[in-house]
Amino acid sequence: MTQPVLSVRNLEVEFATRRATLRAINGVSFDIAKGEVLGVVGESGAGKSVTGLAVIGLIDPPGRISGGQIELSGTRIDQLPPEEIRRVRGKRIGMIFQDPLTSLNPLYRIGDQIIETIRTHTSLSESAARQRAIDLLAEVGIPAPEKRIDGYPHEFSGGMRQRVVIALAICAEPELIIADEPTTALDVSVQAQIIALIKRLGRDHGTAVMLVTHDMGVIAETCDRVAVMYSGRIAEIGPVQDVVRNPLHPYAKGLMGAIPTLAGEDKRLVQIPGSMPRLSAIPPGCPFNPRCALAFDRCRVERPEPVRHGAQSVACHLFEPAKETAA
């Protein structure tokens, strides 16, 4: 197997608050290969975004990475000094945030923001960087880029701004793009274009993509593999068809059951009762046990470790490594 672009092992992120230290991410492991799109889904607060921020080294105090390791193409990046991780950000990892309306500095021309980023990471001259910025804008589908480059962010629509944000994220040809809910703030019609764009860029440049979203439709359409997060852990991870068609973890089952289908008969959507525990009150054992219909005694005391099950990996006591063949 070739070396993955991103390899996260047993990542732990803690936030020290006045009362207690809260663990937002607890033992998360996953890999993303070159050209692969990994979707990360889960409810709000499951730790999807924090995982993305941890990878790019933007966890701000009082938060910190308290355990595990993150490797980018074989080099460890979670313990780099600030100046070196800064050089990784934007150059080797590009990030796209949720809201394109607020991601761009309103007082600077978009061209200046792109040129600034290019010149931070490369030794291109001002004019060469400008040409590259125009090419980038053309690549992300901005019409008349040589004119639009001198526009200010407020002169662009939401979808166009997200394209500019994507151009900014890829301007140094990163190995990995982390897209944190890139379509949530956009119109449905624009969402599809942006998703198609991210997918195309990943394919054309062989970039690995970590796509954080809570939109299962986006996941099914875009991703190669998907990780379902719950309460700071990965409940299930595997190829997207398997996880969507045949989810193993009761939580993943619940998530998939909550997707409306057009073809569906008048079936009621299944909902998962209750809500995710707060970080300060995660129950012992499996964090999902209070909401799980299938929970038994062991779930309340022992934390399930991820086990392989076919191409999928699932953290649930219902699936024992020993029973793998039987199931």
Binding site: R86, R87, P106, Y108, T117, T120, H121
Partner: protein
């Protein structure tokens, strides 16, 4: 853009007209100036003659028209106490006040922005906390007290700086400046600090609050995710966004600095317009008071205009709204 500027100028003229009416009204309602100018044993005939020579017995509308036409040509009548044209009195005093106000404002802006940025970026350092504490004192202590304390310390106890006056001045045409002589510089230090301290603490607190606000925004987070240097983020992206509200406040405060230099000028016996005004109030010298009112409002209105135009230079979003609206 041009239409916007023109509209603002028209508004400014409207404001000045209103102020002109108020200034003129002072002549009608602030007592009889003749009584102030003459002694008790002046005869009624002599009083009437003075009244006539000053034009005080004309009908109100005629007086207003006179006043208005003269004011447009910067003729504000003759001072009752000095028997000199008010405009030349003001022209003589204005350089002193403007120099003091500009020095105070520059001091306030440079020190205020530096301290504000520092205390926003290094929030937890001792120095930042010290700035915060000192700024509280600056905001709450009255100006005259600070002036007197400075005089006590640096003029009386240490004897380093003069306690009053402008020092030696050099004439540059009609403008007299104290900034070309050592004694002039020495003389301006304490009044400028006294006058600028409040503005400085205000700007410092404003910059700190705005900067903290800006540093939390998405575009700063995105700028960090793009791997820009801390320097570029703090002093390029964050500071520029911080300065938009700072420009307004600093601009408007410049007007207040001129208007309220009265106290500082009194404490330091600074020969500026403020001191002239205080003397005018004591002697019911209405032409000076009215002219001063007009001058200060003219300065305020002009600054407002400049600030509005500056805004659109800094913030491209306003440029768009402005051109769309006109």
């Amino acid at each position: 853009m041009l239409a916007f500027t023109l509209r603002r100028i028209l508004q400014a003229i409207g404001v000045m007209l209103a102020v002109g009416v108020i200034a003129f009204a002072m002549f009608r309602f602030a007592g009889d100036p003749v009584n102030q100018m003459v002694s008790i044993d002046t005869s009624a005939a002599q009083r009437a003659e003075i009244r006539h020579s000053l034009g005080l017995d004309d009908p109100v509308l005629v007086q207003f028209a006179h006043y208005f036409i003269n004011a447009l040509q910067f003729k504000f009548g003759v001072s009752y106490q000095f028997r000199l044209p008010v405009s030349s009195l003001l022209a003589e005093r204005m350089p002193a006040t403007l120099e003091l106000a500009i020095c105070a404002t520059l001091l306030a802006m440079v020190a205020g922005i530096l301290m504000g940025v520092y205390s926003a970026l290094r929030r937890d350092t001792i120095l930042a906390k010290l700035f915060q504490a000192v700024s509280l004192i600056g905001i709450s202590l009255p100006t005259f007290l600070i002036g007197i304390l400075l005089i006590y310390l640096f003029a009386v106890t240490l004897g380093w700086l003069p306690s009053f006056g402008r020092g030696e001045v050099v004439k540059l045409g009609w403008w007299s400046t104290g900034l070309l002589t050592v004694s002039g510089w020495k003389a301006i230090i304490m009044p400028a600090i006294t006058l600028g301290l409040f503005q400085m603490t205000l700007i410092m607190r404003l910059v700190r609050a705005e900067m903290l606000e800006v540093l939390r925004t998405d575009y700063i987070r995105f700028a960090r995710a793009r791997g820009l240097t801390t320097r570029a983020i703090h002093f390029g992206h964050a500071l520029k966004n911080t300065l938009v509200p700072v420009i307004t406040v600093a601009g408007l405060q410049f007007g207040s600095v001129i208007a309220f230099s009265i106290i500082t000028e009194t404490v330091f016996q600074w020969p500026g317009m403020g001191l002239l005004f205080v003397q005018a109030v004591q002697n019911v010298d209405i032409p000076i008071m009215a002219a001063y009112l007009l001058m200060v409002s003219l300065i305020f209105v002009t600054i407002n205009l400049v600030v509005d135009i500056l805004y659109t230079v800094v913030d491209p979003r306003l440029r768009a709204t402005v051109s769309r609206a006109t």
